[in-house]
């Protein structure tokens, strides 16, 4: 900085030769203060805008998703009509119709020859009822001919009506449920057949083609398994690599190359890692597509540079006096590092590792490349079986056409964000509690 750049017109009012008149000087000063205020306001506005974005983003997702946690269940006594159940072919029985019959009895309506009414009723009750009946009958055949109480969720569209997403004021042909169905729903609600409750199924079920049955359990387990693989690879390799570069490596061209390389790797777009995973792990090594194993491997490669960088900076923060003291009492280089320096750096290392895992948890694009977009109706059984993970589940549901899935997408995002906040909070607590300032 030279003086020249400091004295544009107006900044140096003290120049004695051309001292402006009193009023002119005041005007100039006013102008300068005005521009000062303006600049400050611009800065403030930028922050306000950024905060508004944050509030709108989070608020909008919570507003869209919270209703998923509420669900409407329906309890109906079902008469297991022996005429309709073929004991020799239990799987082939139309249980949905049996449920519809029970509902018709409850509502006091008759089916016509075309089955219009029963069809309309089947649009209101989840297929889960039929499944439950099948399981019951399979377990205990003596139930046939008796009446059993079955509880299950209403179908997604009916749920949306109860939540006010489908409105009666909409023209009948523009909504999925007609007036008669809405009347039935109102009656069921009024007489207490339909109960409102907390949606535990969303947490215990896995993906399903029917929105009211779909949940995040499979995705949560898939994410956990994938992160386990990532952590098992990225943390040891990353920490040891950082120890080498920071404590052992001689300063020469090779270590320079490694260093530049790591910094550049950290900025490679995540989708490129997906391409790497596809070419290397799937096409070349034949790791099963879409498995937690291959996902974990790809994310481990992606997390590696960040773990290395975080570990190096916390190793740097350990003062040299520690090393000198250890070396002074006769410890070898390796003993110094592994008995003293690394344990002291550990809080920082773990913070960095958790943060990079949290980042990996939210990563989607590379996983799409390695075949994690399939519909997986259950939690993965092992590391090589097909899996889905939370962010990919969000992506899949977002693409679904049913409106009820949009609500579930937002709810899955809430679950994802809760996990990320938990991980970040752990990192912050670790840092606050254990980090030492020298």
């Amino acid at each position: 900085m030279t003086d020249a750049s400091l004295s544009p017109s107006g900044i140096s009012p003290g120049a004695p030769a051309a001292r402006p008149a009193e009023s002119a000087r005041d005007a100039l000063l006013k102008k300068r203060h005005r521009s000062e205020k303006l600049f400050r306001a611009q800065g403030m506005a930028a922050i306000v805008v950024a905060m508004i974005f944050l509030v709108v983003l989070v608020g909008r997702i919570v507003a869209q998703g919270y209703s998923t946690f509420e669900t409407h269940t329906l309890t109906v006594p079902v008469y297991l009509n022996p005429e309709r159940i073929d004991v020799n072919a239990l799987e082939g029985v139309n249980y949905d119709y049996i449920v519809a019959e029970a509902m018709m009895k409850k509502l006091g309506v008759q089916d016509d020859d075309l089955g219009t009414t029963s069809g309309k009723i089947m649009d209101l009750t989840s297929r889960d009822f039929g499944n439950q009946l099948l399981q019951m009958v399979k377990k205990d055949r003596s139930l046939i001919g008796k009446t059993v109480n079955v509880t299950g969720s209403v179908k997604a569209d009916a749920d949306l009506y109860y939540k006010g997403e489908i409105k009666r004021s909409t023209a009948e042909e523009d909504r999925k449920l007609d007036n008669q169905q809405l009347d039935w729903l109102d009656r069921l609600k009024k007489d207490g057949t339909v109960q409102t409750g907390f949606n535990t199924k969303f947490f215990t079920n896995s993906d399903s083609t029917e929105p009211e049955q779909a949940g995040v359990w499979g995705a949560v387990i898939g994410s956990a398994m994938m992160l386990f693989i990532t952590a098992m690879i990225a943390i040891p390799v990353g920490v040891l690599a950082a120890v080498y570069l920071e404590e052992f490596a001689p300063k020469n061209r090779w270590t320079d190359i490694i260093e530049v390389n790591i910094n550049n790797l950290a900025a490679v777009p995540s989708i490129v890692y997906g391409l790497l995973g596809l070419a290397l792990f799937i096409n070349w090594l034949h790791v099963p597509r879409g498995s937690p194993l291959v996902g974990g491997l790809v994310l481990a490669l992606m997390a590696l540079p960040t773990v290395i960088i975080a570990t190096r900076s916390s190793l740097k923060a350990v003062p040299p006096s520690i090393r000198e003291a250890a070396l002074g009492v006769g410890a070898s280089k390796a003993q110094t590092v592994f008995h003293h320096v690394l344990p002291l750096a550990m809080p920082g290392v773990m913070t960095g590792a958790i943060l990079s895992l949290a980042h990996a948890l939210g990563e989607t694009a590379p996983l799409l490349m390695i075949g994690m977009v399939a519909f997986v109706p259950g939690a993965p059984e092992n590391f090589a079986s097909s899996a889905t993970v939370l962010p990919v589940q969000v992506f899949i549901w977002e693409n679904a056409s049913e409106r009820a899935f949009h609500e579930r997408t937002a709810a899955a995002i809430i679950v994802l964000l809760v996990f990320m906040i938990l991980m970040n909070a752990t990192a912050v607590i670790l840092r606050r509690r254990f980090e030492r300032r020298w």
């Binding site: 900085m1 400091l6 900044i11 300068r32 203060h33 521009s35 600049f39 400050r40 611009q42 800065g43 930028a46 922050i47 805008v49 950024a50 974005f53 944050l54 983003l57 997702i61 390799v237 690599a241 080498y244 052992f248 490694i258 390389n261 910094n263 550049n264 790797l265 900025a267 490679v268 777009p269 995540s270 989708i271 490129v272 890692y273 997906g274 391409l275 790497l276 596809l278 290397l280 090594l285 590696l304 540079p305 070898s332 280089k333 390796a334 949290a358 939210g362 989607t364 799409l368 490349m369 977009v373 962010p391 990919v392 969000v394 992506f395 977002e398 997408t409 995002i413 964000l417 990320m420």
Partner: protein, 480 residues
């Protein structure tokens, strides 16, 4: 399963070697630790490492590459009936053989006549080969473990420098780990170049880089070799550039201004609240931004522009009004704005660091000359921080170019050469995702073109990073 079991055995064996090595060392010194060169545990570790490590490495290599070796052995001889099949069907044949041999479900292809006989023979052979390979790996690993143990333990005596040896092993592991990072880069470069090479065999690089028509779906079948026009990536580059530009128009001013405010004006408590909030914005996964763009911002913008169009309809600008009324949810503007929001914390935290690195003495000098705060920022701090801020902007651009989920969910799929932010555009990353999700065969130019795009993306982002680093190195003012 076999690998895990043998690894467990190996761990037990290596633990036993540890005890043996340790007790041998203590015995040789008559039970006195002081007479040994190293601590007793180092002798144990020395023996355990030789007993365990080479064998474990072999087992892991066997688990990783064993399948490939088996496949190669199995496919070395192809019966005439199999050779009569097309290459694709031959692959199916062999994958079915493997599936049946390992007791998994095969594809639904049925094999009759001579093919059936060949199939059954190959299944038997596959089982035999699998047995040979896995047992020879196991046997070899066992031999290695035993040999390591038998060679290592006799060397243990009081004079033996066990600690130095063990530390040699440690150094080796550390170097291997840091090479892993280099191998990752190498893997990225090699796989991108290799697959792109295969792509450029059927499509010339020039028509890829400068062609103006992108329609990979046309060239779906193998016999319908890509017409050179179908793989012109210019519309993708243009779309990427447009979205990036919009994102930077949002992120650069907001990010920079908030960094200036936070570092120059805000008090300690405000910094302490705003910075973590910005970090939250930075930590939100991109798929969430994508959801936000597709289901909130998109419909909002659409309603806004449609509304303007309706207001203007019938007026002097009727043509524009008609266009505005037909604007869709998916447009470059939506993706760009949401991506800009995503980049705000990135730009802001980088710029914040850079502005804070400008020494206080420069500010004090400026204040002493009577400059106001904003004058100091504009005429002293920002010029001093300019190279760093430029670098930060370039890094943000590189992030915007490589960002995938927001554009996939909000920008659209149509490859159009347009500068209209209200139009749907497609980007390089969107096309990579679309080309590679779902089922794919690996010899069609359609899927391979994704690697060509990936290579371009990699080169561009790498170039931006290198330029950013260069700018910082070259123009940074040394103040101390």
């Amino acid at each position: 399963m076999l690998t895990w079991l043998s690894l467990l055995f190996l761990a037990l064996f290596s633990g036993a070697a540890f005890m043996a090595g340790r007790s041998r060392a203590l015995k040789s010194s008559g039970g006195s630790k002081a007479k040994l060169h190293s601590l007793p545990n180092y002798y144990g570790l020395y023996a355990a490492l030789w007993a365990g490590a080479p064998a474990a490495l072999l087992l892991l290599l066997g688990a990783t590459f064993g399948g490939r070796v088996e496949d190669a052995m199995l496919q070395a001889q192809r019966p005439a009936a199999v050779q009569a099949l097309t290459p694709d069907r031959q692959d199916v044949f062999f994958s079915d053989v493997n599936a049946v041999a390992t007791g998994q479900a095969a594809s639904e292809v049925s094999y009759d006549g001579p093919l059936r006989a060949a199939f059954d023979a190959k299944v038997v052979e596959a089982k035999r080969i699998d047995g040979i390979v896995s047992y020879s790996v196991l046997g070899l690993a066992g031999l290695l473990a035993l040999a390591g143990f038998l060679l290592a333990t006799p060397r243990i005596n009081t004079e033996f420098r066990a600690r130095n040896r063990v530390e040699g092993w440690i150094a080796g592991v550390l170097i291997a780990c840091s090479i892993a990072a280099v191998l990752t880069t190498l893997g990225i470069v090699m796989s991108l170049i290799y697959e792109s090479w295969r792509f450029f065999e059927s499509v010339s690089p020039l028509s890829f880089l400068f062609g103006t028509e992108w329609a990979p779906q046309i060239a779906m079948r193998a016999d319908q070799v890509a017409s050179s026009g179908a793989f012109g990536a210019v519309p993708l580059f243009a779309g990427t550039f447009l979205v990036m530009l919009i994102a930077m128009l949002v992120a650069a001013p907001i990010g920079l201004y908030s960094a200036i405010y936070l570092s120059e004006y805000a008090g300690r408590s405000m910094r302490a609240t705003i910075k973590p909030l910005l970090e939250i914005l930075a930590g939100v996964p991109t798929v969430v931004y994508g959801f936000f763009a597709a289901l909130t911002v998109g419909p909002l913008f659409r309603a806004f522009f449609n509304g303007i169009g309706e207001q203007m309809a019938g007026g002097p600008l009727d043509g524009i009004a008609q266009y505005l009324m037909q604007v869709q949810n998916q447009m470059a503007l939506v993706a760009g704005v949401v991506m800009g929001i995503m980049l705000i914390p990135f730009v802001s935290s980088l710029s914040d660091d850079i502005i804070n690195a400008v020494p206080q003495s420069l500010r004090d000098g400026s204040y002493a000359m009577g400059a106001t705060k904003s004058e100091t920022v504009k005429k002293v701090v920002l010029p001093a921080a300019l190279p760093g801020i430029m670098a930060a902007m370039l890094l943000a651009v590189s992030r915007a170019v490589g960002e995938t989920m927001i554009v996939t969910m909000a920008a659209g799929l149509q490859a159009k050469l347009t500068a209209n932010p209200l139009d749907t555009v497609t980007t390089v990353t969107v096309q990579i995702v679309t080309l590679l999700t779902g089922d794919q065969e690996f010899d069609s130019p359609k899927t391979l073109s994704a690697f060509g795009l990936g290579l371009t993306l990699f080169v561009v982002t790498l170039g931006l990073n290198i330029i950013a680093l260069r700018i910082v190195q070259k123009y940074r003012e040394q103040y101390d």
